[in-house]
Subunit: 462 residues, 4 copies
């Protein structure tokens, strides 16, 4: 088969992300590709040989040979994927190919490849490595989001808008405070993700580390775990976690939490960018947000993609939890569900965070529209205040009546009605006027923005 | 870029199914690949041009030109996938490339490409086409499962085994009846899947079919829908289903139901192939079920893969339902979740059904082990019968006592105790003996097998 | 304990629906209460005794006695619930109490209570009975929804509004067509639900119907199944479905499909009732939609409750599918998950459908606001048409340019620009004017409404 | 209505846990009942009045009056639940009833009830209080589990058994190490749950704390939050979390993680208590594990109930994540999904942990059966070792051949074959013998048990 033919046949069954605009082309897409997973498995196999050397169990020089062979070996991903069906995981065919390639160079070195290890050790550790590498990329984008959000919160301290509850105008707020809320969500989620640990899984065939003990004496499994962890930059746990899958669910929960926070941002943008509301616009870019039918369309496509990513995350994180209810020393199906679920979650988080960084860096805020929409509610936007301030004097039943009249007839003059209210005789017009200013009913919005900024700074530093 | 370089760069970010041994290499994997999705989108675009011709709106000959160009156009999947991000779906870049390629051959023909259509029309219809093509493959494998199961049910009418409830031995049953239960589940699910309709989606930009009406007068949208459906072998619905997504959820529910039934088969095989039970074995195949660490291993890998596929299905079908709670005339995120969820569900069903066909065709049944395990429960396996038969005479409290004594001391002689029971004085030893034969307590197992076989035959024919 | 004390202690641990405003107080809430489940279990037990009589196995008169005792027996629900823990299901303590109560009246009759049956037979059949009774209530409300929707679709044939895709204005549509889409979704879901079968589960301890065969000879299990089904109004299936749970998942899928369709209605209402859009209002009712803080609030609470019900449905339906991957002859956990999941799904569907019937009967439509919002997009709302009509003459790049200029500067005069366009020299002003009328670009909206009405009528009749 | 009538009518629609044997009657069931939720809401309302006093905003003595009235007020739960439909949450009717009751005692005090607060402040904070109280109960049971598991791990250091992977025997392990794995999972989950924070939610109507600022000046909202938190024992967060729902998802994730770990225990027990394996038995208790049909049945019902609870948890935790993708300042449906989802998750965790404590305290271990089952695999259980030890000498292909022959013919004499192997000529019989002892291939099992015990002790202390 020529390389052209091979390329075509590969294309015929391969996926390029055609149905995943949420993450195609992102850095995490590359960091989680089949090729990247294969690289990570090879990295773990090489780290094992090196660990044997470090512990004096294998002769020096073996790992360099394995590394060199692995770097140039023409692994055929599509073929390895197909052969993974026999044993149910890709480690078995990879080890066969790797051993053969190394053996062609050096038979001794080949004998140390995968020695004493089991497929789960390699695959679990490799997926942790893939997760760790992907999350480093995600964290960088999450920090960009945090910085952009901090800027928005600070800049829009006085951009007054309607707080909306159950879709309706409630009381006045500011866009700065809304951005501060987003900031709180994203920065806390970023912090949680940043503190996630990625432990090596190193148990041997049944979790007893017996093969390693046989090769190097008591404690060898734990020492190999430490050495491998040091080489590839993961953590070394007190025990193998063959059927105790909290290391996996914790990653999943943290990713879902980040996508929740980004999903909230996108939900708000999607509402506030509706043409009738028009308080926010997505950053424009030539050709972006277009339609195949309607030439005028400028769809908020960044938010749509973030939203669709956020919607899928909880289901995937839940699959990881379901797989964590595991039987025996390696379960009969649950383990196999994790791989693709974790990868898709990493990709969605990676894609969505990158898109969010772009969205937030260029988000266009329209304070004028915010003010116009707020004013459309007239004095009702401060009805809570009127009830609190004048209710004790006028009686809350009467205040409710006045408010309801205004709600029923938006053209009616609530200020006048208040001035005419007998019980408010002693209240100055200025007091009534002020009570009706939305800007005078922002409460502690600025103080809360300050608190959010302070907390986010602390969290980025931690 | 040479083709070799291209192949390498493609490999770097493409997926080959490395983490999906459940379906990699299956016929459905190919029928749902990015390439197959692209082909389906092109098929819909060509069918539209042809429909315009059929209706006399476009001049004759246009669709032949578009088809010919499309068949040789070097669509770059990876590139189209990347460009799909701008508008959030792959139709927009595909149409651009297709129009350009056709225009190079014939400008008139190019003007009819995608004319009046919207991205959703193309993508929804293309995914229905992909689903329809995939499900045809799945149904063939499901029929093979049905035939194998019918054979097992019929052949093992008298292979007596323990019915197990809440993991414990209950009463006697036969493997034939167990297989008949599997048969009922799979054949009913197959029937449901076979009756699924795959409607064209044809609404135009906002569901009014206005562009089509403009091009061809009243009713053109519906006539185009009919013509396209006829060309590509789908159904033509009474209305567009832009935000009424039951056509998608129905496919998802049917696929999940099939995977439930196959999952049940695999759950049973996984239990019954445990070495301590050993009533079933998977068909052996050189190298299959091996381990990278333990040379003796013969894992029931077919069942493991089916099980892991079955576990993922409900979550994916649920995502389709969530997307069916849709807003506006095209929702802002929900629609984008469907594509990959539906595809993964098709793949899992396709892979699992193919694997199940192989498993069931070669399933090794060990009636001797079934009998041995059944006997290990001694007379307790017929305790229900003893209670029913002798309880009214002896009193149920006393019968419970006798049974409990036997349960507490498996070596005790229940037959002797019954013979010695004063209240059973008039009951012959033969009657007591017969009451203790498990084979005499199979109830209507055979009759139920007959019913299951009859129902399955009817369903395959329907 | 006095009844007052009992009432208090019962209250201390009972649920009254405090956190479930989606369904509390609905007819389905009552039809699915613990008390209703107990009633259904008793109904099945009585039907069994009656079936034994019908088949001539039990002496005549037994079932009348059991029925009479059951109707007056002071079953203590809270106590039965507690005692259900021992065996893991409520049938065991119920049977004990029922037998004891009957025995106090008639020892013979007591001996026929639950004879030969197993807990699963009773509970599965009782839950099918509860589902059947609940779904009859749901269907009545769903029909009310269908009628109200048909009225809205018909009445608002010419209420022009913006079709929105990805949150932005696309092309003109009518509210009638939107309502027709809702109608299609709800009526199809109603039809599917109406065609759901509720089979008796009748397998005996291990699915062989052996106990029944022993009591009445070959075929007794099937005959009992038929007789019980006839008594309580369910279907009698060809086989027991102990671990083939499609009868349960089918109910779940149908309920989820109905909630998808109602969820879509509520999603649209929630957007269109936003104050800036204000195209729809919920029917008002004294005190409804209020807030504990903001006296002006009139929240669209009916839609909020429907929406929250619709959001929970897919997850519950998915649990039923997960439970359908069942092992042995009665699974070790999966079965126990079904009960509460199915009940909650019935309740959510029951509550949401009743609320939707109220919402749709009184939905307030504001055609003036629809028109105003549509006009705010100016000529861009017909940009698709301009592209289709003038693009071939002017060139699509130039048309896109004109449209983009208008989008960038909403005050610009697109009509004037078109008239000034050299390529459109020969096009009359009247033609250009008409192309810019939104009302002239409604396509086949009315025809589609007719189709939807016709289809819904057919479905309600079927 | 007399109290008896009321009790009856209440029973007709109330739930007593009839379908929830997983948690009915547990301490957490009571701590999460409607009555307990009402109590928590009242506690928050009283804490608010007290906070106003503490801050000098309300006159002293008000909160004592409110508390006293609340403690004796005859709140009608069923009625409040029904009235919750109008506004969509139970706070509104509760506040009305509470205000009226307090007003009857003291009008001034009534004016401070709920002053400035919004429903979400009360309900979110009350549910955090319910969660906090429930989790204190869960932690106590989780600690009992940890202690029991530590005992099992320590006691069974030398109880040798087969490690099973993908259902088949792999290598030898010990039950102590299996219990150590369970211990690691449960103790880590316990630790995570113990470190969960339960913050007060205190934002006022729109998150600006404006009502509080109006009543007490700048910073009043935050000071009230601090004071309320101090009174009811929760945390006071830097900002309100109206649409930033990580406090809720974090609780959900932690509960799901605990149920994963307990689910794993139950999965193992359910397999190992199968009669053919019989390595574990559940503690027996009179009447427990019985069946309504089969008198001999001793079902592992504790594990069945834990398993069914564990299966439901991931879906509920996922609903919390979905609700955390929230729009506006209070979302239009998502918030309402949280309440019941969180409560059910607390109940499942509460029930399952209590059941697990009972299961683990009395778990019956059968080391003899473990040994018997292990031995049934003959020398194949150490095939990995033979491959590692003799493979380099004999060649791995030849070793695989010898192992495969033994697997194919369990009666064959592998020891003899090894002794006869030319390449092993120089290896002593003793060496071969030792290589075949399973007990000699336990690796670092004990060391890992020590590590697990040490880690668990640290975690319980932390």
């Amino acid at each position: 088969m020529t390389s052209t033919e091979h390329s075509e046949s590969v294309s015929a069954s391969a996926d390029f992300g055609l149905l995943s605009p949420q993450w195609v082309g992102s850095a995490v897409a590359e960091a989680t590709s089949d090729s990247a997973v294969l690289t990570a498995m090879v990295d773990v196999e090489v780290a094992l040989v090196r660990a044997y050397e470090t512990l004096g169990i294998a002769p020096a020089g073996m790992s360099v040979i394995v590394r060199a062979v692995a770097d140039t070996a023409p692994f055929d991903l599509a073929d390895i994927a197909l052969r993974a069906r026999s044993g149910g995981n890709p480690v078995i065919p990879l080890v066969k190919d790797l051993r053969a390639a190394v053996a062609a160079a050096n038979a001794d070195a080949a004998s140390w490849v995968h020695r004493g290890a089991t497929s789960q050790d390699i695959l679990d550790t490799a997926l942790m490595l893939v997760a760790s590498r992907s999350i480093a990329l995600i964290l960088a984008d999450a920090e960009a989001c945090v910085h952009a959000l901090a800027g928005l919160a600070d800049h829009h301290r006085r951009s007054i808008m309607a707080a909306r509850t159950l879709t309706q105008h409630g009381v006045p707020t500011t866009f700065g405070l809304k951005a501060a809320g987003w900031l709180g969500g994203v920065s806390e989620a970023r912090k949680r993700l940043a503190s996630t640990q990625f432990p090596v899984q190193w148990g041997g065939a049944g979790g007893t580390q017996a093969s390693f003990e046989m090769l190097g004496g008591a404690g060898t499994g734990a020492r190999l775990s430490d050495a491998i962890a040091a080489t590839i930059g993961l953590a070394s746990p007190p025990m193998p976690w063959q059927t105790q899958r909290a290391p996996v669910t914790r990653v999943g929960d943290a990713l879902a939490t980040l996508l929740d926070a980004l999903g909230t941002v996108s939900s708000d943008v999607l509402v506030l960018a509706r043409p009738e509301i028009a308080e926010l616009s997505e950053p424009s870019s030539p050709g972006r947000g277009g339609s195949s039918a309607m030439p005028q369309k400028q769809n908020p496509i960044l938010s749509v993609l973030i939203q669709s990513a956020a919607r899928k995350a909880p289901g995937l994180a839940a699959e990881l939890h379901r797989s964590a209810n595991a039987v025996d020393e390696r379960p009969d199906g649950a383990w196999h569900v994790e791989w693709q679920s974790l990868r898709e979650l990493l990709r969605l988080a990676g894609g969505a965070t990158a898109i969010a960084a772009e969205l937030l860096a260029g988000l266009v805020v329209h304070p004028d529209a915010m003010l116009r929409n707020l004013r459309s509610s007239g004095p009702l936007i401060v009805a809570e205040r009127l009830m609190l301030e004048f209710g004790p004097v006028v009686g809350s039943a009467r205040m409710q009546e006045l408010v309801s009249q205004t709600a029923a007839d938006p053209g009616s003059d609530l200020a006048g009605a208040l001035r005419a209210e007998p019980a408010l005789e002693g209240v100055s017009n200025a007091t009534i006027e002020e009570a009706l200013y939305p800007i005078a009913y922002l409460g502690d919005a600025e103080l809360l923005i300050d608190r959010a900024l302070a907390a986010a700074v602390l969290e980025v530093q931690s």
